[in-house]
């Protein structure tokens, strides 16, 4: 059996296995574990999409939370029932025709992504003429602007009161379905000619432009796609916790995603997936450090936020001693696994550019 066939076989096996795991999780996992896993799926989407912008295209953009905010609100407003809208918008009634709209969840989530992508396009147009730290500051500012607009357009977003009674989604299938689809789409994109163009811009902008690549167009494309998936993740977040308010999407949230992609490796989707799951699970596991503790006779009162200190230390250690993160720019692939178990490699011509 040649290697290509084995790889196809293994990939199918993996898909089947993940279906079984999801099926098992759906049946036997408790409410809490399911919720943590769903959150992990959302962070996987966020990490992978931010990695496209930051790790693969080399644009230091910090506006991810802003695009999530757009996505969360769009999907929430589209899917809430007219009755609950009437009840929640008591400061100022919601404007027409939004008050009567009542969409099913899936088209609403996709629309949320598209609207976020549109915002990404609008913001990217002026901002992507900047680079490095300047771009970071500009996108950070735009992210905050989005949040402040959301706080103040009360007749659309209900302002700082937020939205409640968003139709919940509980199934692992939905969140992980979206996560797997995102990873697959981004993997296809990154291994395509466009993905190499992104990496070329990251490696050497001047050379990329001299080889005929339209830098601005490609940066805008990467940024818009990143915003699309951030919007998608934001929408899912809304349906997971069934309420949204503007304070959820402070720029600290962006740093949490940044933590994931730096831990996983800038320029590795595999790294983002692993770190996304790891960080989310650790966030929950480490809750005990915020409880009052008795440490060798020393009484420590519960300090909320202690978990973040641990992550901050972790980030410091990674940056100081292990800068490339968990995966560097490597990706998971079957060739590596097959080499390890000793399946012979046929001399192939022209590979290395395939998927």
């Amino acid at each position: 059996m040649d290697r290509q066939k084995i790889k196809t076989f293994l990939t199918l096996g993996l898909v089947l296995l993940s279906c079984l795991v999801l099926f098992w999780g759906e049946q036997y996992l408790g409410k809490f574990s399911t919720r943590v896993l769903n959150l992990a799926a959302i962070f996987v989407i966020l990490g992978a999409s931010m990695n496209l912008v930051l790790g693969f295209t080399g644009m230091f953009s910090l506006g991810h939370a802003g695009f999530m905010c757009v996505g969360a609100y769009v999907s929430a407003i589209l899917t809430m029932s007219p009755e609950s809208k009437e009840m929640i918008y008591f400061m100022e009634p919601i404007i027409s025709p939004l008050d009567k709209i009542h969409w099913p969840v899936f088209p609403a989530i996709l629309t949320a992504g598209l609207v976020a992508a549109f915002f990404g396009f609008l913001i990217g147009f002026p901002a992507l003429r900047l680079r490095d730290d300047y771009l970071a500051i500009a996108t950070l500012g735009f992210g905050e602007i989005i949040r402040i607009i959301v706080t103040n357009t009360i007749s659309i977003t209900n302002g700082s009161l937020g939205l409640k009674n968003i139709p919940p989604i509980k199934s692992l299938w939905v969140y992980w379905g979206f996560a797997i689809a995102t990873i697959w789409i981004l993997k296809q994109l990154i291994n395509s000619s466009w993905g190499y163009a992104f990496k070329a811009i990251r490696d050497n902008e001047i050379a990329a432009e001299a080889m005929g690549i339209d830098i601005f167009k490609h940066k805008l494309m990467s940024f818009t796609i990143g915003a699309f998936f951030a919007g998608l993740a934001g929408a899912l977040m809304g349906h997971l916790i069934t309420s949204v308010d503007p304070t959820m999407f402070r720029f600290l949230f962006t740093f949490q995603i940044l933590l994931i992609i730096v831990l996983g490796g800038l320029g590795s989707l595999t790294g983002s997936v692993i770190a996304g799951v790891l960080v989310t699970v650790m966030m929950e596991v480490l809750r005990f450090v915020e409880q009052p503790m008795n440490l060798f006779g020393l009484q420590i009162p519960g300090i909320p936020g202690m978990r973040m200190v641990i992550f901050a230390l972790l980030l410091l250690v990674v940056i100081l001693f292990y800068r490339q993160g968990l995966m560097g720019t490597r990706e998971f692939n079957w060739d590596w696994v097959l080499d390890k178990v000793g399946v012979g490699r046929r001399k192939e011509k022209g590979v290395g550019v395939d998927g």
Binding site: Q188, S192, S193, Y196, D203, E209, A210, M211, G352, V353
Partner: protein, 263 residues
């Protein structure tokens, strides 16, 4: 200077580049015929690379006009100029460090791709077929520049001479009509420079290229250039065949300093 060729491929009509109070290049008038190899020489700081940067769109000339193949290219973006058929290499090698040799070359084909990103993501035939054809073309090209055996190595792991050759290969992959080489022989030993000369002459024949090169190695310049332009402090001090240039008093002075007759 009168135009001895009816159909020039590149004409720069008195282009000038001014940075604040400094005139890096003033009134440069090039007139290059198709399939010619032209050398641009001059002492350090003469404005040679600035001239390259104007032609390739990195800088917009302060005044003057550049015509390439019948198109006015003054002030176009570098990528637009590349699409029209001018490719270049860099004085300090600028390869894509995260990519393999093949991927470096393959990148030049990106603009020729007529599929959409959506087709690429879904792996539709229009994209996959074009991609496959591009990979074959690039492997052929690497074969011709004798880099096929290292096609899957990381570009930056190659020895210096091969990296230079890869830069030229990458430029060739954009299917240019004209190629601008910025010090291709820099850092090469005499043997390598000799090979490079043969290589440049060969690709000119093979791809029907016009070549404009900046070079400090006089053996290389005098060996293959048919026409030489000498810059000093941004001024064009001489133009002509290698023999004319070698005997030009002003050029000798620019390179060696003026001879004080009274001494």
């Amino acid at each position: 200077m009168a135009n001895p060729w009816q159909n020039s491929i590149l004409v720069t009509d008195n282009i000038t580049m001014q940075f604040g109070g400094l005139k890096a290049v003033s009134n440069l008038a090039l007139n290059i015929a198709p399939r010619q190899i032209v050398g641009l020489i001059g002492p350090n700081g003469a404005g040679k690379t600035t001239a390259f940067n104007m032609i390739t769109g990195v800088y917009k000339p302060t005044s003057g006009k550049i015509t390439f193949d019948g198109n006015d290219i003054t002030g176009l973006r570098p990528n637009q100029i590349t699409e029209l058929g001018i490719a270049r290499t860099f004085q300090n090698i600028r390869l894509f460090s995260s990519m393999s040799v093949l991927e470096n070359v393959l990148l030049s084909k990106h603009v020729r791709l007529k599929a959409t990103p959506l087709e690429a993501i879904l792996g539709l035939p229009r994209y996959t077929r074009a991609r496959k054809r591009h990979i074959e073309e690039c492997m052929d090209l690497l074969e011709q520049v004798q880099l096929a055996d290292v096609a899957h190595e990381k570009a930056t792991s190659l020895p210096y001479g091969k990296q230079r050759r890869l830069e030229i290969a990458r430029a060739l992959a954009t299917q240019p009509k004209m190629i601008l080489l910025d010090e291709p022989a820099a850092g090469m030993n005499p043997q390598e420079s000799l090979e490079l000369m043969e290589f440049i002459a060969r690709i000119r024949e093979q791809f029907g290229l016009t070549v404009l090169m900046i070079e400090h190695h006089m053996e290389v310049v005098m060996g293959i250039c048919e026409h030489i332009v000498v810059l000093d402090h941004g001024e064009t001090i001489a133009q002509g065949t290698p023999t004319e240039i070698q005997n030009n008093q002003q050029v000798i002075e620019a390179y060696l300093g003026a001879v004080d007759e009274s001494a």
